[in-house]
């Protein structure tokens, strides 16, 4: 069954690019939901059926690390997998994200081929 995806990024351009890359990669997904920061994402996760989250790190209001921490405290949504897509791919930050439950990370910039290779097995 096709999975529903939530994209979290404060850049509407980047949300469109990731969405386009998912389509170009030929991945079989259901709905694509969008949120501009971690706070919006938490509300959306509580109200929609989302199977996987693709999240930026550097965002206003609630960044990707804070989102992972807060999501982990909410039993109803804590097990939804989160994959980081960010310019922030330093070992310390990605290490912290993985400690908080992130299942992987993809660095911006990326190609549709890279999206397919990395996210294909997850979606």
């Amino acid at each position: 069954m096709a999975k529903n995806v939530l994209l979290i990024d404060d850049s509407s351009t980047m949300r469109k690019i990731i969405s386009r890359s998912l389509r170009q990669a030929g991945l079989d997904f259901g709905e694509i939901y969008e949120a501009g920061d971690g706070l919006e994402a938490l509300t959306l996760l509580e109200n929609e059926k989302v199977d996987i989250v693709l999240s930026d790190i550097n965002m206003p209001n609630m960044n990707g690390i804070e989102f992972l921490r807060e999501k982990g405290n909410r039993p109803a949504i804590k097990d939804i997998p989160v994959f980081m897509i960010s310019t922030e791919t330093g070992d310390d930050i990605i290490g912290e994200a993985k400690t908080l439950g992130a299942i992987g990370a993809l660095k911006k910039p990326f190609t549709p081929e890279k999206v397919s290779e990395v996210l294909g097995p997850l979606i």
Partner: protein, 155 residues
């Protein structure tokens, strides 16, 4: 600490990679660091600040016609005026370049913090630099004209 020559080479590589893979636009380096006027006309500038072990700013300066072409390519649709989409796209170019600059300066991640991107645009504005900073301004050719990537780091 990387030398400015090393930073220049890696930034050129990063800029071309971002435009090739994300903007879907072929660009090329237009040579070594140049001096540009501090007063920009009919342009848009995206900036990201760096704090921590390296302090400074990364800026990308696009004449309006280049910014429109970049955004149109980025989004896969024609954009005819400087609007929120253009500001968002140029901010994201600065953001990705800022992330790459951070990786060039430090591969760990916690010792340098990036600000959120911001943009400045208008018929005429001045982009001031810090007197104490080292600065490089790298020119690039795009199909729509020249644009610049600037890095200032406190010495």
């Amino acid at each position: 600490m990387n030398s400015f020559a090393e930073i220049s080479d890696k930034l050129i590589e990063s800029t071309i990679e971002i435009f090739t893979s994300m903007v879907m636009m072929d660009i090329s380096s237009a040579g070594e660091s140049v001096e540009i006027t501090r007063t920009l006309k009919k342009s848009i500038t995206g900036t990201v600040g760096l704090a921590g072990t390296h302090k400074g700013v990364l800026a990308v300066h696009f004449p309006n016609e280049v910014a429109l072409a970049v955004t149109s390519n980025f989004l896969g649709m024609d954009i005819g005026e400087i609007n929120e989409d253009v500001q968002d796209a140029i901010g994201e170019v600065a953001n990705m370049l800022g992330g790459n600059l951070k990786t060039i300066l430090s591969d760990r991640g916690r010792d340098i913090q990036l600000s959120l991107p911001s943009t400045i645009c208008g018929d005429e504005y001045t982009f001031s630099s810090q007197a104490e900073s080292d600065r490089i301004v790298l020119p690039f050719h795009s199909p729509s004209g020249i644009f610049y990537v600037e890095v200032e780091l406190e010495g």
